[in-house]
């Protein structure tokens, strides 16, 4: 598995059966690859679909059936289509259980920045603010560092925040952090990753409370 696949498969493990999950652009869209076929998790796409599935292999892509990343998808049995106003009514009204989204940065209170880069004209915000304010749980799926190797989980965000709300879970290829009372808690390490590596690549303060099973892996 590559880095993106590691992140997406870890996210999949943190979803509960029966949940309605919105998947953001990029890594989050890969999550559907790691749900088992008889899963009762339903994927919501903010452009107007409940019940997104991978495109069936034998099928031609249909450009009238795309996800939030404008990539052709398939649908499950029991799926439905609706307009953008109704779709965001679901998000804003708290009817979507989980959002999995990317981030430019996460600060040490668990708040994210994922829409604007200072000094550049701001030309995109998309649905991230609606999702972070509206859904039950927010899961951040991101590489642990930037392309240049700089930490993305930082003491203070350099970029403007998406919301004052703290997210619930931050999942990278190295580790998983829970956020509790605006505090980051390192709860899982990926195979072969040490606490020291995570500390070196993270400038935000965090508490360590590894879940047993994962701790075993990390010390093995």
């Amino acid at each position: 598995m590559n880095v993106k696949q590691i992140i997406a498969s870890t996210v999949a493990k943190h979803l509960n059966e029966g949940e309605i999950v919105n998947l953001g652009i990029g890594i989050p869209t890969l999550v559907t690859d790691y749900l088992h076929d008889d899963s009762s998790i339903y994927i919501h796409s903010e452009n107007g679909i409940l019940g997104v599935a991978p495109v069936p292999e034998e099928q031609e892509p249909d450009f009238d059936l795309v996800n939030a990343g404008k990539i052709p998808v398939g649908i499950n049995e029991g799926a439905s289509f609706f307009d953008s106003a109704d779709s965001f009514a679901m998000i804003r009204g708290g009817h979507v259980d989980v959002a999995v989204i990317g981030a430019l940065e996460v600060d040490e209170k668990g708040r994210i920045a994922n829409w604007s880069v200072p000094g550049k004209n701001v030309l995109g915000v998309g649905g991230a603010m609606d999702l972070v304010e509206g859904v039950g749980r927010v899961i951040i799926a991101t590489t642990h560092t930037t392309k240049d190797g700089l930490p993305k989980i930082v003491e203070h965000a350099h970029y403007p925040l998406t919301s004052q709300r703290s997210v619930d879970l931050i999942i990278t290829e190295l580790a998983t952090f829970r956020v509790k009372e605006q505090q980051l808690i390192l709860s899982e390490l990926a195979e072969g990753v040490t606490i020291e590596e995570v500390k070196r690549k993270t400038t935000a303060k965090f508490i360590i409370e590894l879940t047993e099973s994962i701790e075993e892996i990390s010390v093995s």
């Binding site: 307009d83 915000v125 509206g134």
Partner: protein, 220 residues
């Protein structure tokens, strides 16, 4: 069919300085034939309300390079590099809204709701100059309804009365925009006899639709 019009009849409907809503999420569900017609019109100084500005040279991206667009109101223009350039050059004014706020403000415009209160973007840079209000135990941003002079939208089929249905996720912003403009022009792939669309199936009832044009398949 009385509402069916040609390019020659479309062009005078959209005038210099008009505010025009344009349906679609990226190119999915965008009224490409109508946009093409506008490209051949001398119209300029348009304010466009649309989630995106197409892609470079495609969809609204075409009108952008023709410098017909003075201002764009939407949620995500970053995917079109021409929009980024035009903005940096001071040739394009941009008003960014969270995608859900935009969708709901359009619906409000169509529904005679003067303004709405929305949580998305509260206490962020995006709404630092906006009015806030505490309702219950949450903080909301005041958002006026959005309306337009003309809406150009894309539907799948219409009947001879002007009732519309949409195809899969090509629905997106089209139905709310069909309610929020003084003049609504729908581009459709097929016209069927009245009675062919059932009362439960109709998404946009005919009272919202002023004119219809036939979608021209690419290369046709």
């Amino acid at each position: 069919m009385k509402k069916l019009i040609t390019k020659e009849q479309v062009i005078p409907l959209i005038q210099n300085g008009h505010t025009v809503m344009v349906g679609g999420f990226g190119l999915t569900g965008a009224p490409l034939t109508l946009i093409e017609m506008l490209g051949d019109s001398p119209v300029k100084e348009l304010t466009v309300i649309s989630n995106n500005l197409g892609e470079p040279g495609k969809g609204l991206g075409k009108l952008l390079v023709q410098k017909k667009i003075k201002k764009a109101i939407g949620s995500f223009f970053t995917s079109n590099i021409d929009a980024v350039k035009a903005s940096q050059a001071g040739e394009l004014e941009v008003e960014l809204l969270p995608q859900g706020t935009m969708a709901e403000a359009i619906r409000a415009g169509g529904a005679g709701v003067g303004a709405i209160y929305i949580k998305a973007s509260v206490d962020t840079l995006l709404s630092e100059e906006k009015e806030m209000r505490v309702i219950g135990d949450s903080k909301y941003v005041f958002q006026e309804a959005l309306k337009a002079d003309v809406a150009i939208i894309k539907a799948y089929k219409c009947d001879t009365l002007g009732n519309l249905i949409y195809r899969k996720s090509a629905r997106n912003f089209n139905p709310p925009m069909a309610t929020a403009a003084k003049v609504v022009i729908a581009e459709v792939e097929e016209i069927v006899e009245v009675g062919q669309l059932t009362p439960d199936e109709i998404v946009t009832p005919h009272l919202y639709v002023n004119y219809v044009v036939l979608h021209r398949k690419e290369g046709a």
